[in-house]
Assembly symmetry: C2
Homo-oligomer: 379 residues x 2
Amino acid sequence: MMTLLVQIKKASLIHALQHVSRAVSVNSPTSVLAGIYLEVKQDELVLMASDASLTIKVALREAAHALRIHRAGRIVVPARYMNEIIRKLSADVITIDMDEPLILRITAADSHVRLCGVGPELFPPMDHREAHPPIKFRINNGVLKASIAQVAASASLSDMRPVLTGVSFDYSQQSLKLMASDGIRLASRTIWTGTNLGPAARIVIPARNLHELSKLLKNDHDETEIAVMNNRVRFTTHELQVESALLDGAFPSLSHVIPRDYLSELFIEKTLLLRAVECVSVFAGDRIIKLEATEGTLALSSRTAEIGDVQDRVPLRTMKGEAFRISVNGRFLIDIIRGVDSERVRLRFTGKTSPLVILPEDEASPMLFLITPIRTHDS
Amino acid sequence: MMTLLVQIKKASLIHALQHVSRAVSVNSPTSVLAGIYLEVKQDELVLMASDASLTIKVALREAAHALRIHRAGRIVVPARYMNEIIRKLSADVITIDMDEPLILRITAADSHVRLCGVGPELFPPMDHREAHPPIKFRINNGVLKASIAQVAASASLSDMRPVLTGVSFDYSQQSLKLMASDGIRLASRTIWTGTNLGPAARIVIPARNLHELSKLLKNDHDETEIAVMNNRVRFTTHELQVESALLDGAFPSLSHVIPRDYLSELFIEKTLLLRAVECVSVFAGDRIIKLEATEGTLALSSRTAEIGDVQDRVPLRTMKGEAFRISVNGRFLIDIIRGVDSERVRLRFTGKTSPLVILPEDEASPMLFLITPIRTHDS
């Protein structure tokens, strides 16, 4: 009886399982989404997991991974047990077969495993009808990862307005603009794609899915192809495909909240500013820290009732305009400063009740951050 | 006004805080036990934390840490804030003073912190009346750490019989015997102290406190002094003192449960056995794994209903006596095998309903483990 499906190196299988397992649904442990979809095709082994919003697929090609494919077959097995048992096998080569219906048999040296699965037809497929989507372009992985890190941190964590938990991708002509805002802070970055993307349009991708994608993009010199489909977006790089659902609802037009003018502008060493904001944030009751810029110095402070207070100061490189005092959420400011990729940070004060603008040193940078001040009784 | 208490290197202070913070009470966040006791004495800075059962004290000597002590003083400050803020300061030297009652002032370069504390008189002191305890001996740190790792894992995790959550230290003449048992497994190891400890006696130390002690013993070539007091035990090594409450209640006499005879004895490579037990334990429903020894081979297996099953086998080095079959808790067996410090493990089968004995290869070893079999419907 020809039952053998495939022989595969343990290291290749573990690597693929680690990747797809990031999409395994943790909220529905009994559903098919708590499983890993496994399919042996003519010349590749496909592993896939999905939590309905995010789908991750790894296709191991026969030649690249020295697979020995004997027969096609497919099954969905429980992710937790599959991951644990493969790790515990001692042999370097693992044999996978299916000689009973819905049972995966795994053999490695003296270890014999029977793992009960469920039918693959219940597993949501990646949509092959949209294999030729209308919008398709490529971005360098390093740029994509940095942009996600900078922008996605400003997306909302609350489900009050679901569309704000996403990052807006605005494309038109050859530019792609990422933007996220939770109402208090805003981050945006423009990427030049080098491909004409046609008429202006916008999609909104859950920030959580972008964070997962970011962790999977290993080689910064590679490129990722982004394909925008009807209600989904697909990222493809080498053997890896990551597909995300899009968020419905109108993403607010935020260009009008970005101040054009400013009252003061100052430049500070990024590492000094970050360290001082982290320091005063330790004592920030309700996360409020106070910034006070005077000639030559930015003074930072915070207090927590009955615990204590802290004051710090950072020298300014330069300051144009008037002295000012403003209170902001310290935690949010830390995220923003971390995202600025230049040695010095440019801060623009635009008024007591309008956002503080944070920019890299280079005026031509495609990156911008805003943070709305908090009104306090003494400011 | 002379208010300065002490100047200290940031690295020394962080190191001491990390040590004592392991004893900070997590269950009473508002009590004085959620704090760190800080005392500047004539020639040392003392830090201390306690959760009532465990107290950890670090005494930084002026000369060894290049302290600059200006004045004595003491206070208890909230551990969480103290730890966070010290880490975030940028300067290498930190100045600590108290110019307001119950407020610790911390200064480092441009950072100024005021941290509200409480009175030190509420903090439970280490007992100085017992500075000259009746029983006192020294053990090599490497031996002490290994012994704790081997024995304390067998202590009970349940509070049903509190005394079983501890490790019994039996001393008499020049030997110290550590023993722990949760009723299913038992571990014991004898240490030769080289000091006459006087008439036989026994104390029982909470396993949790021994685990914490073990993490703090860094240098395996050093020695720790153990002082047994009325209702406590104190471990001292260099600047570190760890004091543990003792457990009340009679620790059961367990020598009669250790089988003297056996029906079969086999030797197996430790790494192979550990790997196979870990492998079959993945599928062990109720943690039950089955062992079956026949000439030349130990077969291991387990199953979880509706998930699957796994079988593995390990070659035996030698086997004396009859073939046997027994079921045990796989998780417990893993802990035991990890504790055996020899290349080969000796397994002794003593009957279907009496404990499996696990020993190192060397018959003269001072180490012994037992695990009680589980009765299953097919064994």
